[in-house]
């Protein structure tokens, strides 16, 4: 490809200007591991929190001298993520940490990256290409355990409503299928409504409003949701229900939902209804957002020559009314001792995901999830 001299100068000028904006990060990067993060959208709480934890991990003193981390966003577009991973390989990546948009569409490009010696780590989602490392929970287990809890809570009898995730994704498919298998074993459990919740509290509210337009809360005995129990409880209060009348809800691990699980009347700084202790009957599970941070840590270990397993199945964080415990300050030690929900005065967003603790990642705690700051 030939260029005129003028064009070249122009291009150089643009490059220089852009380089100034981007900052001089490449200068000392020579001896560091060059690691890229390809995330999906940044348009939801979970993604932002996971990205914060990856960044915090990279900034932790144990890794800061070893890692040069660059973050790119692919949006919801798998085609674009393919292109992005290709570009990362071209740019000399030594490891790529990926939130995979599709478990299958990336296989070829990931294989190609592996062939060039790049370590590929997927978190939360899965990449089916065998050379990739996968760090996630067992989605089927998540669907099964929560459904079993609900059946038990209802004594095997009742009309229930399901609110699922994003249709067409593996995660939604595995969870919903496992839950339905459990419900199918109990003939007295009837699924009377099923809505697509897109893993969003806002969508859950819209969908539940549609369902309750023709079916009042009294005609529902329980809820199984991939996200939205917090919202469902708020809606029942708005409809005139008291805290004691709240329906059992199996659902996500948002901080708002967990605060509602605390016994009604618990003194909690910053609480305001519906983001307040209600004693709501719940089981709360989560795909923990620290998985990205752990993936980065493992990627560095792999680059240092350590043996890292291809599949890391994270323990499924499960919290019930019996095990919910308020963190006073949110220190890592406190979480290690078993607290699993944070004060509304510290976490103002009730949709924020509270399952951030892992014994594997002492580098990242509450501040990592909130603002991307590592622990000391």
């Amino acid at each position: 490809m030939k260029m005129t001299a003028r064009l070249k100068t122009l291009a150089l000028g643009t490059a220089l200007a852009a380089g100034l904006i981007a900052g001089a990060s490449g200068a000392q990067a020579a001896e560091k591991f060059k690691i890229f993060l390809s995330m999906s959208f940044i348009g939801n709480d979970w993604q932002a929190e996971a990205a914060n934890m990856v960044k915090a991990m990279a900034a932790h003193k144990s890794l800061a001298d070893k890692v040069d981390l660059q973050v790119q966003v692919a949006g919801p577009n798998a085609q674009r993520q393919i292109q992005q991973i290709n570009a990362m390989v071209q740019a000399g990546a030594q490891a790529i940490v990926i939130f995979p948009i599709s478990p299958t569409a990336l296989n070829q490009v990931v294989k190609n990256a592996c062939d060039k010696g790049v370590k590929v780590f997927a978190y939360d989602g899965e990449i089916t290409e065998p050379c990739a490392h996968n760090i996630s929970i067992d989605q089927e287990e998540a669907g099964r355990v929560t459904a079993e809890w609900l059946v038990k809570k209802l004594n095997g009898k009742g009309d229930i409503v399901l609110v699922t995730g994003v249709p067409g994704t593996s995660v939604d498919n595995l969870r919903t299928k496992a839950a339905k298998e459990v419900f199918a074993k109990h003939p007295d459990i009837k699924i009377v409504g099923e809505a697509v919740g897109m893993w969003s509290q806002a969508v859950a509210r819209t969908e539940l409003s549609k369902i309750t337009a023709t079916r009042s809360w009294d005609q529902i005995s329980g809820l199984w949701m991939q996200a939205g129990c917090y919202t469902a409880n708020a809606m029942q209060l708005e409809a005139g229900k008291t805290a004691e009348q709240l329906l059992p809800c199996a659902g996500e691990g948002s901080n708002g939902g967990r605060i509602q699980m605390l016994p009604a009347g618990t003194e909690v700084e910053g609480a305001a209804s519906p983001y307040a202790p209600l004693g709501a009957p719940r089981i709360s599970y989560a795909s923990p957002p620290y998985s990205g941070g752990l993936a980065l840590k493992l990627a560095v270990q792999a680059l240092e020559g350590k043996d890292v397993p291809k599949r890391v199945t994270l323990p499924l964080p499960l919290v019930t009314n019996d095990t919910v415990k308020l963190c006073k300050e949110g220190t890592w030690q406190e979480m290690k001792d078993g607290c699993n929900v944070f004060l509304p005065s510290l976490v103002s967003n009730p949709g924020w995901f509270a399952s951030i603790f892992s014994a594997e990642t002492p580098e990242i705690g509450l501040n990592a999830a909130l603002v991307g700051q590592p622990e000391n």
């Binding site: 740019a91 299958t104 699922t164 099923e194 967003n349």
Partner: protein, 685 residues
């Protein structure tokens, strides 16, 4: 096109005609050079091959979309067709067969694409339905069918396809993706010079004129969708080869970037000018931006801003010339200043009545009986009624299927609360569509306004008092930017609002740092979820809003001028309407409505989230068209749009109450929307 005489004039004319393509090509080469200069090593053939395969799916799909747009159409089903082809291939290929026939499966993919195109073409060309609603409906139906075929990613695509499509046409010189795109473009170059090719341009430039000179407009438009479907099919085959598996969601997000590629490539939305070559280059421009962002290590939060800027700059660069709108506006400004100096500006003349004095007629005019209400409003009723009839049907079906509907005030209350968001958006989007435009910046105007409101209010009613006006003012500012870009820079509404949407997304991310905090105040929450007797306060607000909207469009000078502009910009201008000023106002109104929806959604959900507006863009367009408005402007009534809103909301409420799988719901949704618009078709022969 043959250029035998190498004189200056034809060369210049050639350049003027192909300006869009030329600019896109230059932009692409500059970006490529940037990548080459700042990446570690020089670009090798290997890198070029990578780039080629990265952009090929978009390029092929954009070529198909361009042909539709050239004929004056619009195809929203393109992304869904790509997914469909992908899952059909991945599901039906035998995993044991490593050497599957490339010819056969390529033909299958193209065939599926053409079949879906034929369905679109039938409804659009033969039944004369509006392309945007037909393809919106088929998009839902195809997405549903895709999920029925494969409900989660998986399947198998033979590696032989990958080896072929990602390999080399001439080893070391020509990557196969480029060759495939080249073959498609050559086929177009041939087609363009046939009678059909000329007919496509003719139909896109002026349908009536084309019909008058004997072009079969029905057949031409039908074939356009079939050809385009074939291109999407090929794109589906390519992505299957590239990924080696199936994913029912893989093609859907390609839709918006496809339009961006078409626009960057210099094709005019609305038809008649441009061509697929530019769009293919446009697709590569957008694709290489991914590499640039990566090489420059631009923060993820800035990526949508950078893309929007490139989109705007590329389109502006393609349009700057003596006859461009910007140049015209500057000349007009100059003349205006001269007139002011000379004291001849209309507003400087003494204010006096210069109208022709007409002597009052002495003869009494015999007035017949005034036409009845039905006669006077026949046209409005004809276009507005179908939505209401379908709405009533859906409510009745809900009553019989789920019960507890017609006599349940709770049902009506929920329905109106859920409708309120779309009903408000319908006024803004509807007014924009009445002028022949489209506002794609709705999603992130909603998102940004909601996030900023929640952030300012933080649960305090007192803060709401100043936060609400501040947020609505911000919305007006967004509309002003849209309007000024469209009127003074002469950008097409789709380009300008698409770019604004990207900018707003970036701003929202920067403002919220990825996680919006704050929540709505008790008063706002009560407004959206509380009760006065059985009704939520917002229901009463909506009654007032509907009266306001009907009056604004039907009873004010502003409303009349909007219809005037929509029916003919030139005619409106000549009859003394300040077209530019009104267009700006229209976009301000649209953004204001979107901002209001952002506020109400925050109250409804109790908090604001990024992407909270994403689900409202396509429905906001659909309800306007289902309600009887013409997407090209000039026709439509707010009450009709309201009927569209009620129909869609009632339908979704019904579907949510059933336990049908999502795939079936999507298909039903598409079918009902299609059914509603069949009743709207023009019976012009």
């Amino acid at each position: 096109m043959s250029l035998t005489a190498v004189s200056a004039a034809p060369a210049r004319r050639f350049l003027a005609q192909h300006r869009g393509v030329a600019v896109a090509a230059v932009v692409f080469l500059i970006l490529l050079a940037v990548v080459d200069l700042i990446s570690a090593g020089p670009l090798s053939y290997f890198d070029i091959s990578f780039l080629a395969s990265g952009g090929a799916t978009s390029a092929l799909a954009a070529i198909g979309q361009t042909i539709v747009i050239l004929s004056g159409g619009f195809d929203l089903s393109a992304g869904a067709v790509i997914s469909l082809v992908n899952v059909v291939l991945a599901q039906s290929m035998d995993p044991a067969d490593m050497e599957a026939s490339i010819m056969l499966w390529t033909a299958v993919g193209i065939g599926i694409g053409m079949a879906t195109g034929a369905v679109n073409g039938f409804f659009i060309a033969v039944l004369r339905l509006q392309p945007i609603v037909v393809t919106l409906s088929t998009m839902f139906i195809i997405q549903g069918v895709t999920l029925l075929i494969m409900d989660k990613p998986g399947g198998f695509v033979s590696p032989s396809l990958g080896t072929f499509y990602l390999g080399d046409a001439i080893t070391g010189y020509l990557p196969m993706p480029i060759a495939v795109i080249g073959v498609v473009l050559l086929a177009w170059a041939w087609l363009k010079n046939t009678r059909l090719g000329t007919a496509i341009y003719a139909v896109g430039s002026d349908m009536d004129a084309a019909a008058a000179v004997g072009v079969s407009t029905v057949l031409t438009r039908f074939l356009v969708y079939v050809i385009a479907g074939g291109c999407y099919g090929l794109a589906g085959v390519f992505i299957s080869a590239q990924t080696g598996s199936g994913d029912p969601l893989v093609g859907n997000p390609l839709l918006l970037s496809m339009f961006a590629a078409v626009v960057v490539g210099g094709t005019r939305l609305g038809g008649g000018r441009g061509g697929p070559l530019g769009s293919a280059i446009g697709a590569f421009v957008l694709m290489i931006v991914v590499n640039i962002l990566l090489v420059l290590n631009i923060s993820a939060y800035y990526s949508t801003i950078a893309e929007a800027t490139i989109l705007l700059l590329a389109v502006l660069a393609g349009s700057i010339s003596e006859s461009s709108t910007l140049a015209q506006q500057l000349r007009a400004l100059k003349t205006r200043l001269q007139a002011r100096r000379a004291g001849t500006l209309v507003s400087q003349l003494p204010q006096q009545d210069r109208r022709l004095a007409l002597a009052p007629s002495t003869k009494a005019i015999a007035l017949g009986t005034p036409p009845s209400f039905l006669t006077r409003n026949a046209e409005t009723l004809r276009y507005a009624l179908p939505a209401y009839i379908c709405f009533v049907l859906v409510v009745l079906v809900t009553q019989f299927w789920l019960g507890n509907t017609v006599l349940n005030p709770g049902y009506w209350n929920s329905l109106i609360v859920l409708s309120s968001f779309l009903a408000i958006l319908a006024l803004g989007q509807g007014t924009v569509i009445l002028t022949g435009g489209l506002d794609l910046s709705v999603p992130w105007t909603i998102g940004l306004c909601g996030i900023i409101l929640a952030g300012m209010v933080k649960g305090s009613d007192a803060a709401l008092l100043y936060a609400l006006p501040a947020v609505l003012l911000l919305a007006c500012l967004i509309g002003l930017i849209n309007g000024l870009g469209i009127v003074f820079l002469g950008l097409s509404p789709i380009v300008m609002t698409l770019a604004t949407n990207g900018l707003l997304q970036g701003v929202a991310l920067l403002y919220s740092n990825g996680t919006p905090d704050g929540f709505s105040s008790p008063m706002l929450r009560w407004f959206m979820t509380g009760r006065i007797w059985v009704f939520t306060p917002v229901v009463l607000f909506m009654v007032a809003f509907v009266i306001f909207a009907v009056a604004l469009l039907g009873r004010t000078a502003f409303g009349r001028r909007i219809y005037g502009i929509g029916n003919g910009v030139r005619a409106a201008q000549l009859s003394g309407i300040a077209v530019g000023r009104h267009l700006v106002l229209v976009y301000v109104l649209s953004s204001l409505c979107a901002g209001l929806v952002g506020v109400l959604l925050t109250g409804f959900s109790g908090q604001a989230s990024l992407g909270m507006g994403d689900d409202y863009l396509l429905p906001s367009i659909a309800v306007v068209v289902v309600g009887g408005a013409l997407i090209t402007g000039g026709r439509g009534h707010y009450l009709g749009m309201l009927g569209g809103v009620l129909l869609l909301t009632a339908l979704q409420t019904f579907l949510a109450g059933t336990t049908l799988p999502y795939a079936t719901r999507a298909i039903l949704f598409g079918l009902v929307v299609l059914g509603a618009v069949i009743a709207l078709r023009d019976r012009r022969s």
